[in-house]
């Protein structure tokens, strides 16, 4: 390269010796602060690779003398959060539900924690806003199949509905009246049920259905269709319908009823979380 040495005429500084279309690059030394910063980063990087996980090996990587790992850091952080919340969770597990509702701190924590637990465990069926869908009850409204006070909600969440694995589960089953009643009787009783809240397609049909209803349905759903939370028998005289409000939908439900199933959560989530879920559901606006 020495034979390429070329001194720039204007600045008197030697160039790199290469020429790009008549343009030469001056070969000025680096500013000293820059060079020293560069050396400092090299020194730093050596220390860093010793202290922290750095070099990839065949099936692993160097661990670093500080023993740092981001997975461990996450665990530590989560443990710290759990430790901070431990008192609150223990208090919720210990105290009865009405005391939790009365205690501002516990109620706020339970509502927020219940919201999080709901999103993970319940939103798949009930929806992320607990708004439900056909066959899955809306938990925001004031219509409760199994009762809407805090204890009833807790009981339902803890032991589930028609859940095989829990002896205390909520149970109630409507017979399939397609085997019991004739098609005409089913149409009649469907028209009668519609007449509780609206106008049936044929008043004469509804009139005829009154007797069928009294004989077959009133024992669970009540004389005026008010329902019974003991059996989870829905209120037929309100605006809320789990499987649809048209005569055809009601007739279909009479003929071959569908029944929802909810797992029992006490075993899976534990006492504290189930209580938090209860407080959250209760807070949605329909709690009694």
């Amino acid at each position: 390269m020495s034979e390429n040495k070329h001194i720039d005429e204007v600045s008197g500084v030697s160039t790199t010796g290469h020429e790009w279309d008549g343009i030469r690059e001056l070969d000025n030394p680096m500013p000293r602060w820059w060079v020293w910063t560069f050396y400092a980063t090299i020194v730093w990087s050596i220390g860093y690779t010793i202290a922290y996980p750095a070099w990839p090996l065949i099936s692993d990587a160097t661990k670093g003398v500080l023993g740092y790992s981001s997975r461990q850091e996450l665990t530590t952080t989560m443990d710290a959060v759990s430790a901070e919340q431990a008192d609150l969770r223990a208090a919720i597990a210990e105290k009865p539900l009405d005391e939790i509702l009365a205690d501002e701190t516990l109620r706020r924590f339970a509502t927020a924690a219940g919201d999080a637990a709901f999103k993970v465990n319940c939103s798949q069926c009930h929806g992320s806003g607990a708004q439900g869908s056909a066959g899955y009850p809306n938990l925001n409204d004031d219509d409760w199949l199994w009762g809407g006070d805090i204890e009833a909600i807790h009981q339902t969440i803890a032991h589930g509905v028609r859940f095989d694995g829990d002896d205390d589960t909520r149970f109630g089953e409507m017979p399939a009246f397609g085997d019991i009643l004739s098609g005409e009787e089913i149409r009649q009783v469907a028209a009668h049920v519609v007449s509780f809240t609206g106008t049936p397609s044929d008043p004469a049909l509804a009139e005829a259905g009154a007797q069928v209803y009294a004989d077959n349905c009133a024992s669970c759903h009540g004389d005026a269709g008010e329902g019974d939370v003991t059996f989870g028998a829905p209120n037929l005289a309100d605006a809320i319908w789990l499987y649809g409000s048209s005569e055809a939908q009601i007739a279909a439900q009479v003929r071959q009823p569908r029944h929802g199933v909810m797992p029992a959560w006490q075993e899976r989530l534990g006492d504290s979380t189930v209580k938090q879920l209860s407080v959250y559901v209760y807070s949605l606006g329909g709690g009694e």
Binding site: N28, R32, Q131, N138, D142, T197, D238, A239, I240
Partner: protein
């Protein structure tokens, strides 16, 4: 590389006893240092005069403001801190005497920054880089560090001698003491900064007992390092290499801006032997080339080279030169604050319109003193279109901010309409909508805020947790200086769902102070039920 040791020669030939200083400008346009060359040290000599006194005063006032402000108290009642100026990051509040700012009012700070920017334009267009020369923290702290340096190592000559001397116990002791005091000043600087962010007296105790937050110690450490580095070690390099302002200010200056100027129209040709020249019949200028202006310059420049990027217009060279002129019995102002237009007029006078070389006789009166034709700065030049525009913009921003501040609301409402579910059909066929309502009580007093519905005439509302029956309004107590978030359910009866299309608003009022705010909201109903 080292500057020649001082050779102070008294020059009786030029009249008074003027000390000639063998000073060389370190930073000159003619031979600029390459960036990779080591810095040449500057040993600014102590100046004395009107500008130096003014700078002492400014230094005293600005440092006083900086160090003492956090200790001022301001009574705001039992619900707010009593520190006059406090940036409460934890609670997201900024207190400035009688003003309290919430995060959403940060535009006031933005407005202040805009005012500071335009104010800088205004100042620069009238009196040049006065910010750089007098009030910039870099200048003030370098000045402070130089005071320490002079007190321990002596003035310019002694410092140069000490710097060149081999390391002895004496030098080591002086250097150690100097750097120790510098570090102490730096610690105090960083220490004062953190007091703006917490209650100063209790933070001081916490700091002393080691119980303050780690971030406080780290902030002090970082500011200590930067203060020591910038004020003690880097000094003029910060202004020359790091600061963008010297580059920008060229756009602010015009021919009527005051800048520190060497009036070569009366100074040239400079001569060290004025009497001898006079005897020989040669005409010489007022500059006796004593280098006093170079020796005092903290930027290491020679102002006689003309305006240059490094000059922070600290005016110490004016003081130095005026002192020399006084000794020589000549008129002051060989170096002075002057505008370019005045300078050009005087230069034209001295050079007979640029046709000849400078002849100071043209600007002199018979028997000494300056001719009456010489232009001097007149205060009316401050008032010109450019400064009016800057001042107009500056005051406009200020007035708008003042108006906004005086008429701002201390009660606010924000409403989040539930989106999931958008509505809830209730068993009696009525429809309920949920709203998260945020009530902002922005004064440090507890208040009862009346929340009511306006429009949607058949609807009723219920505030969750208040245990009040459904109604058209509810009184919600809110803690002082706090936001209270409440859930409000609004229910519209089944037979009045057609109202849902009409506009409806949440109105919040403080019946005591007559403050109010409204939020326009909507009401969702199931599709097809209208």
């Amino acid at each position: 590389m080292t500057l020649a040791t001082e050779t102070a020669a008294s020059n009786t030939a030029s009249g008074g006893a003027v000390e000639r200083i063998d000073a060389e400008a370190v930073n000159t346009a003619g031979k600029r240092q390459p960036l990779y060359a080591p810095r040449k040290k500057i040993f600014p000599k102590r100046a004395s005069g009107q500008f130096r006194r003014f700078k002492w005063l400014i230094m005293f006032v600005t440092l006083g403001i900086y160090y003492l402000t956090p200790w001022l108290r301001w009574d705001r009642g039992p619900y707010a801190p009593d520190q006059a100026v406090l940036i409460d990051l934890a609670n997201r509040r900024f207190y400035f005497f009688f003003i309290e700012i919430w995060p959403q009012e940060f535009f006031y700070i933005a407005g202040l920054l805009v005012m500071a920017g335009i104010g800088l334009f205004l100042i620069t267009s009238t009196v040049g880089r006065a910010w750089c020369g007098y009030t910039c923290p870099q200048t003030v702290w370098v000045d402070l560090f130089l005071v320490v340096e002079r007190a321990i190592e002596g003035d310019r000559n002694a410092r140069i001698k000490l710097d060149a001397a081999p390391f002895t116990a004496n030098k080591l002791a002086r250097r150690t003491v100097k750097h120790l005091i510098w570090v102490l000043i730096a610690v105090a600087t960083g220490g004062a900064w953190v007091f703006y962010f917490a209650d100063a007296p209790s933070l001081l105790i916490d700091l002393a007992t080691g119980e303050a937050a780690p971030v406080a110690y780290m902030t002090i450490a970082v500011l200590t390092a930067t203060t020591y580095l910038f004020g003690g070690l880097m000094r003029e390099q910060v202004c020359t290499y790091m600061c963008p302002w010297p580059r920008i200010q060229a756009a602010m200056l015009d021919e009527n801006s005051l800048t520190v100027t060497y009036n070569d129209w009366r100074g040239e040709p400079r001569s060290r032997h004025a009497k001898k020249a006079a005897a020989e019949g040669r005409t010489v200028g007022d500059c006796v080339d004593c280098n006093a202006c170079v020796a005092v310059c903290p930027m290491g420049i020679d102002i006689r080279d003309g305006q240059q990027l490094e000059c922070i217009t600290c005016a110490l060279c004016i003081d130095a030169c005026d002192g020399v002129m006084d000794k020589l019995g000549r008129e002051r102002g060989l170096i002075s604050y002057a505008t370019l237009s005045d300078y050009n007029a005087n230069m034209a006078l001295a050079t007979a319109g640029g046709t000849e070389t400078i002849n100071p006789d043209r600007v002199r009166r018979e028997g000494g003193g300056l001719s009456e034709k010489v232009a001097h700065f007149h205060w009316r030049k401050i008032f010109r279109l450019r400064t009016f525009v800057y001042f107009g913009a500056w005051s406009l921003v200020g007035l708008v901010m003042l108006y906004a501040l005086l008429t701002r609301d201390r009660l606010e409402v924000n409403v989040l309409h539930d989106r999931n579910p958008q509505y809830v059909l209730l068993s009696d066929g009525s429809v309920r909508n949920g709203y998260t309502v945020k009530l902002l009580n922005m004064i440090p007093e507890p208040r009862v805020i009346l929340v009511s519905l306006e429009g949607l005439t058949s609807a009723t509302m219920n505030v969750v947790g208040l245990d009040q029956p459904d109604d058209r309004s509810a009184a919600v107590p809110v803690e002082p200086d706090r936001l209270r978030e409440v859930r409000i359910f609004v229910t519209l009866p089944a037979d009045r769902l057609s109202e849902a299309g009409t506009s409806f608003r949440f109105v919040v009022e403080d019946k005591a102070s007559f403050e109010s705010d409204v939020y326009r909201a909507s009401f969702n109903i199931p599709e097809g039920s209208r």
